[in-house]
């Protein structure tokens, strides 16, 4: 039981590591996901192909493989960055594929007639997307994007295997010090719960403020 109070510093460091990975990767995933979703519905063929390829590759390969590719592959091309940045890149790109598909499903829930009405009033493709389609799509993608970011928070544990400081990795230090492994994991779980429940609460609030009125 005193594993937490004795090692609060170690826990706090791990917790902050996971929090940082989650926040930075989420931002990257949302930006890239938004960009890729726009590509996938664009009237330009080459953009659609790029978006589709991005999603197909990243969504269908294991995240651990992507970590290996980024952490061991990129330095071979002369790109040497801190491991934490590599981890954010891997997590952000991986999750962006899921965010993209959530956004695209949201775009598809907006009835076709909404876009037709906008175009018949003389709006361009960009105006139609920005003023009519995306604001309505946004409302229906709040829950799935929330789930995706929760998955991202938990996936960040993989970064621990590549010597990035994060929450799950603290168990190694603590078990070497001889603490009860069960209680070590209980407090780690509590740490993840704090982050994931905070994400849930945030998205719940967003849904209340902007969600689809039924």
């Amino acid at each position: 039981m005193n594993v937490l109070t004795d090692n609060f510093h170690t826990y706090a460091e791990g917790f902050l590591g996971t929090l940082e990975l989650t926040v930075y990767s989420s931002v990257l995933a949302l930006v890239l996901g938004f960009l890729m979703a726009s590509f996938r519905v664009a009237p330009v063929g080459s953009l659609r192909i790029f978006g589709t390829a991005w999603v197909t590759v990243l969504r269908n390969t294991p995240l651990t493989l992507l970590f290996f590719a980024v952490l061991l592959g990129l330095p071979r091309f002369g790109l040497v960055l801190p491991f934490k940045v590599f981890a954010v890149l891997a997590l952000g790109c991986y999750t962006s594929a899921f965010v993209c598909e959530a956004l695209r499903s949201g775009i598809n829930t907006v009835p076709r007639g909404q876009g037709e009405a906008a175009r018949s009033l003389g709006m361009t493709f960009g105006q139609t997307l920005q003023l009519v389609i995306l604001p309505q799509a946004f409302r229906s993608v709040i829950p799935p994007v929330g789930s995706t970011l929760i998955a991202l928070a938990k996936n960040s544990a993989i970064a621990g295997a590549f010597s990035v400081t994060e929450l799950l990795g603290t168990y190694r230090t603590l078990s070497e010090l001889g603490y009860n492994i069960v209680w070590t994991f209980v407090w780690i779980a509590v740490g993840y719960l704090i982050i994931t429940l905070a994400i849930s609460a945030l998205f719940h609030l967003m849904e209340r403020a902007w969600g689809v009125a039924r």
């Binding site: 909404q114 037709e116 009405a117 906008a118 018949s120 009033l121 709006m123 604001p135």
Partner: protein
């Protein structure tokens, strides 16, 4: 009648895969004319209406609006669409905007009007269709008939040269059909150029200058309403009229 043609279709052909939905269609709509398009379902009348502002593309033929051929997708097309209002069967009001915002949005973003100017004009138009009290509501809070009247106001806000109606009353309860038709009759009296796809024969009789009867992707008859309804020339039209006028 067609002294000054506004909408002209010449040899228009369209296919959905194997299906030849528009076959060598020729149609001229003069300024201030009201043309009602009727016909059995699947005859291509909605498609015809939607090709005029290029919501549907065509395989061959030409469509000109006020002497200008329809441009390809892009800014020029958007500009031209702003001149032709469209009213849909399913209203298609922007669900996330209030009634007032629905009518003002394109005035501000496409016509470049200031917001207060646009809102003033929107309120005038909403007053004209009898809905000024509903300006702050969302589309989902209105009845079908009210939504369709807002949709007409939204189209009128752009000061279009012509209005296209694609079965505007087909999704409405019978008691709401008349409030929409009354607005359309008023527009016709005011000299608006209109192409109306509809099943409302009463409207065709009372408000149309010409009735166009379509079947299987072709225009079968194109005549004055009284002549068409009392003495249809083709068997196809006689058959159609006997079915719908029975009840």
């Amino acid at each position: 009648m067609a002294v000054d043609p506004l909408i002209e279709l010449r040899d228009v052909n369209k296919y959905y895969g194997e299906l030849h939905v528009l076959q060598d269609v020729d149609l001229t709509v003069g300024k201030g004319e009201v043309v009602v398009v009727i016909g059995p379902s699947g005859s291509g009348k909605s498609t015809l209406c939607r090709t005029i502002n290029r919501l549907e593309t065509i395989e061959s033929g030409t469509i000109t609006l006020d002497g200008q051929p329809l441009p390809q997708e892009g800014r020029a097309l958007a500009k031209l669409r702003a001149e032709v209002g469209m009213v849909f069967q399913s209203f298609n009001l922007f669900a996330h905007k209030t009634v007032l915002q629905n009518v003002s949005l394109a005035q501000i973003k496409v016509r470049g009007r200031r917001k207060d100017q646009a809102d003033r004009r929107s309120r005038e138009l909403l007053d004209r269709v009898g809905l000024s009290a509903q300006a702050g509501k969302y589309p989902a809070q209105l009845s079908g008939g009210q939504q369709q009247r807002v949709a007409i106001a939204r189209a009128l806000a752009m000061e279009p040269k012509a209005l296209l109606f694609d079965e505007p009353t087909s999704a409405l309860d019978p008691e709401m059909i008349n409030e929409v038709l009354e607005v359309m009759r008023q527009l016709a009296r005011d000299g608006m150029t209109m192409v109306v796809v509809t099943h409302e024969m009463g409207f065709a009789r009372s408000a149309a200058n010409r009735v166009v009867f379509m079947a299987d992707g072709r225009i079968v008859e194109d005549r004055a309403p009284e002549e068409f309804f009392t003495a249809p020339r083709s068997d196809r039209a006689r058959d159609f009229l006997s079915k719908i006028l029975k009840h």
